[in-house]
C-alpha cells in the first residue's frame, strides 16, 4: 500500500484515497487542425511505460479531488516526490545516480511499504514544458 503525500492537502494519506491516471506531462497537440494521424496516435496511445523512474498523474479522488503528479520508480515502487500541477519534477532518471533507478530491480528495498517523499525544497525545477 502506498502512503502518498498530497501536495494540496499537505498530508500523507493511504493509497485507497487516490486514483492513478497514467503518464504525466502529456501535452495535447496545440494545433489540432494540422496535427497528423501519427501525432494524434502518439498523444492518445503511445506511452513511455518506463521500468524505472516514471512521472505520473494521480488524483486525490476521495480527498481534495485535485490532480497532482508523482515521481515514482515502477520497479522498486519507491515514491521520490509528489508535486502540483504545472510544476516540473525535481527527480528525473537523468539526475538520479544510476543505482537508484536501476530498471532491472524487482524487489522494493523497503519491503511492501513505500512511503511518499516530500520534495526537499519547495522551489521545484523550472524546466521548459515539453
Amino acid at each position: 500500500m502506498f502512503h502518498i503525500h498530497c501536495p494540496y492537502c499537505d498530508e500523507y494519506r493511504e493509497e485507497e484515497e487516490f486514483h492513478p491516471r497514467g503518464q504525466a506531462h502529456l501535452a495535447r497537440p496545440a494545433t489540432p487542425d494540422t496535427t497528423t494521424d501519427d501525432e494524434w496516435g502518439g498523444y492518445l496511445f503511445f506511452r513511455d511505460n518506463e521500468r524505472g523512474i516514471h512521472h505520473e498523474l494521480w488524483v486525490h479522488s476521495v480527498g481534495c479531488r485535485k490532480f497532482f503528479n508523482i515521481t515514482r520508480n515502477t520497479a522498486t515502487y519507491e515514491i521520490h516526490e509528489t508535486y502540483k500541477m504545472g510544476e516540473r519534477p525535481s527527480v528525473t532518471a537523468e539526475n538520479l545516480p544510476d543505482s537508484q533507478h536501476q530498471s532491472g530491480v524487482q524487489a522494493a528495498t523497503s519491503g511492501w511499504q513505500t512511503v511518499g517523499a516530500r520534495p526537499e525544497s519547495a522551489s521545484l525545477n523550472q524546466e521548459e514544458q515539453v
Partner: protein, 416 residues
Amino acid sequence: MKRYSGFGLVKHAMSHHENWERQWRNPTPKKQYDVIIVGGGGHGLATAYYLAKVHGITNVAVIEKGWLGGGNTARNTTIVRSNYLWDEAAALFEHSMKLWEGLSQDLNYNVMFSQRGVLNLGHTLQDMRDIQRRVNANRLNGIDGEVLDAKGVQDIVPILDCSKNARYPVMGASWQPRAGVARHDAVAWGYARAADSMGVDLLQNTEVTGFKIRDGRVHGVHTNRGDIEAKTVGCVAAGNSGVLAKMAGFKLPLESHPLQALVSEPLKPILDTVVMSNHVHGYVSQSDKGDLVIGAGIDGYVGYGQRGSYTTIEHTLQAIVEMFPIFSRVRMNRQWGGIVDTCPDASPIISATPVKGMFFNCGWGTGGFKAIPGSGHVFAATLAKNEAHPIAAPFSIDRFNSGALVDEHGAAGVAH
C-alpha cells in the same frame, strides 16, 4: 523424443519412474539462428513450435531470461474462451479455441483442457443488453453461446447467490459451453518439449539486453551470454515488451500493470464451471487440486514488481463473497502477481515494427492465456512469410494511428 502413452506409463512404473528422459535439452547458444524468439512464455514457445511444425523452420532459438513459462503463463488463472465481440477478435480467439480442442493430442502432452463452460454474469439491464448483443455477434461468427436468465444460471451454479437480496442481483448471464480452463504449466511445457524435439534451442537464464540494429534492420540480439545473430526477431515478452521496444528505439501503445490472483485452501469439488462478473468485478473457478482460483482487477498504476496491492485483494474477495456467500470462511492460501501489458483497446498487438525484421507479439494484457495456440500459430506464419497472417493483420500497431481500433473492453471485461 519418446512419445508419452499409457503403455509408457506402465513400463516406467516397473523402474519406479526413475528413468524418464528430460523433456528438453539445455543447449549452448549457437552464433546464429534463422529466427530468434525473445520470451519463453506460452506465446513464444507456441510460436517456435508452429515455426518448426508448420513452416519447417527449425533453426530457431527461444531466449528466456528466467525459466520457461515463469512469466504470466505460470501466473494466470487459465480461463479459455472465445466469446469476443468484434469479428477480428472473434476470429483470433476462435482460431485459438479450435487448436485448444486438439492440443493434447497434437503435442502428445496432457494440457488438461477442460471445457467446463464459462458464465459471464449480468447484474443490470445494460449488462443484459450487452450480453445479448455479444452472444448474437458470437453466433453469427459460428461461436457457441447462450443467453441465460437468472434461473438458468442458478441451475448451472446452485451455490451462486441468485436471490433478490444480493446488492447487485444476478439477472442472467452469457454461457459459452466450449469454454473452460487448462493447466498453465503443461501448456508451456508441452510446447517446449515438442519444439525442442524438432530442433528448436530453448535458452533459459539468457536475458536479451539489446538489439543489433544496422540501417533500420535487425541483425541479432545482445544477451548476458554473448551476441546471437538472426535476421528475424520476434519479441513476445508480455509486461516487458515496452522495455524491449525502448532498447530497439521505439515506443508501444502499452502500459504494464500488476495483475494478481489468489488461490484458497483445497476444498472438495463444489464449483464445476467458471463464473465471471464484470459488474461485481471478480471471477472464480475450482482447480483439479480443489483450490478456488480467484482473480479480479489490475492495479491502476504502471508497475513492474510482480506483486499487487492489498486493496485490490480486498476488493476481489469482497466480490467473491458477494456472489458466493458460502465461500465467506474459506481461507486463502497463496497470492501472487504478474505484469500484464495492457493495450488501450484491450486487444493484442501482432505486428511488424519500425525496425525491419523485428516483430512484436504483445498487448495480451489480462487475457492472453486463452490465445496461446492461436497467437503462436498466426505469429509463426507472420515471421515465416514476413507478412501478416490474415487473422493477425487487424492487430497491427498501425491501428493506433489509423484509428481502426478493435475495442474489446466489454468482452475482455474483468481482468483475467
